[in-house]
């Protein structure tokens, strides 16, 4: 089948569609309702909620920071506070960058480039988050034990952590592997898009 033949069939579909019943006024306006919204809005809502919880946790640590009475606990507390503030802020920033891409004002090629760039940034932040979660897991134990039970786990280790910590690490490895695979899948398709455009002058 050559292009001319395909064009003839294509124009026939156009004529058939013209003959079909027109889509109703109500249906068109229903499709424009805000409730449908951008799918990223949903993701952004969950991420915003998650970020809010992280910020509250960071605030709790900061308000009780004076309870951390040794240099290593202060270090753990400071790193953990930084984690709870920086990571969600970076994720939110990347998400809102994607949301802000206006698809009507730019051409296809420009949109692809902007989109792939923003998507890669978001994925990079999420991958960074996977690694930082392991560090945070190790920091949470001493900081929260001190803040809520007034126990220094480095001086008086709690036996519960002997089995709980490996379980948490295994769980996190599983979640991270799943997350990493998702990351690989998305970035691979993004790379394919860029390859399509590499010989295009934008």
């Amino acid at each position: 089948m050559d292009i001319e033949e395909m064009q003839a069939i294509w124009s026939q579909i156009g004529q058939d569609l013209e003959k079909q019943k027109k889509i109703t006024n109500t249906l068109v306006m229903k499709m424009t309702q805000e409730r449908y919204a951008n799918k990223f809005s949903k993701l952004a809502t969950y991420e915003t909620l998650g970020a809010f919880i992280c910020f509250i946790t960071a605030l709790v640590i900061l308000l009780n920071f004076n309870k951390l009475d040794t240099w290593y606990l202060v270090l753990c507390g400071a790193l953990l506070t930084g984690y709870f503030i920086t990571l969600p802020a970076l994720v939110l920033k990347s998400l809102y960058t994607i949301k802000a891409i206006k698809i009507d004002v730019t051409s296809y090629a420009v949109t692809v480039k902007k989109y792939v760039k923003a998507k890669n940034k978001l994925m990079l932040v999420q991958q960074l988050g996977v690694y930082l979660n392991f560090v945070a897991l190790l920091l949470v134990i001493p900081v929260f034990s001190k803040l809520f039970k007034n126990k220094d786990v480095f001086v008086t280790p709690n036996t519960i952590w002997y089995w709980l910590l490996p379980v948490l690490v295994i769980l996190m490895v599983l979640v991270s592997r799943w997350g990493y695979n998702c990351y690989k899948k998305i970035t691979n398709s993004a790379e394919n898009l860029l390859k399509e455009l590499e010989d295009i002058e934008v």
């Binding site: 089948m1 292009i3 395909m6 064009q7 069939i9 294509w10 124009s11 026939q12 579909i13 156009g14 058939d16 569609l17 013209e18 003959k19 079909q20 019943k21 027109k22 889509i23 109703t24 006024n25 249906l27 068109v28 306006m29 229903k30 499709m31 424009t32 309702q33 449908y36 919204a37 799918k39 990223f40 949903k42 993701l43 891409i101 206006k102 698809i103 009507d104 004002v105 730019t106 051409s107 296809y108 090629a109 420009v110 949109t111 692809v112 989109y115 998507k119 998305i186 398709s189 993004a190 394919n192 898009l193 399509e196 455009l197 010989d199 295009i200 002058e201 934008v202």
Partner: protein, 162 residues
């Protein structure tokens, strides 16, 4: 005429354009309905921004193709879509099985192309000139020509390999 009335008329007059794009960029009816709704929503959202600097069809293709493209990469659990099959996706009264078979062949050929090639092919089949395709897609007209030659070659090879 109110803004809503103008918009409804625009969609009604161009429902075929949206339908064709959704067919090329989806593989099942649910996805197609979802994309159809997404395109209408995006057109409505950017309707105010349309300044008549380009042809209305150019603007519509641009928004619709960009929506299809960005949607392909989201793949996030879709919200419930509004059923449109009874008004847009129905069979025509003069159903012709031979034509249907040939149409399936056209779609099968297009489905083998990548995202950008699909857009170029779709616009070529719509009878657009290279200049207009270039404006919609955002590449130079000479690039459009080169890419279309490659697509033709690719399609020829696909047929020969079968």
């Amino acid at each position: 005429m109110t803004k809503e009335e103008k918009f409804v008329e625009l969609i009604q007059n161009n429902q075929g354009l949206i339908f064709k794009i959704t067919t090329v960029y989806t593989t099942n009816k649910t996805d197609q309905q979802d994309l159809y709704q997404d395109i209408v929503y995006q057109l409505w959202k950017s309707f105010d921004g349309f300044k008549n600097q380009s042809k209305i069809s150019t603007w519509m293709y641009r928004v619709a193709l960009n929506t299809a493209l960005t949607r392909l990469k989201k793949k996030i659990k879709a919200p419930k879509s509004i059923a449109i099959e009874k008004v847009v996706l129905q069979q025509t009264e003069n159903y012709d099985p031979v034509f249907e078979e040939r149409l399936k062949m056209v779609y099968a050929q297009i489905q083998q192309l990548n995202v950008l090639e699909k857009a170029l092919m779709l616009l070529l089949l719509e009878g657009k000139q290279y200049d207009e395709i270039a404006e919609i897609v955002g590449i130079t007209a000479s690039n459009v020509g080169t890419k279309i030659s490659r697509i033709k070659q690719k399609m020829k090879n696909n047929i020969l390999n079968k």
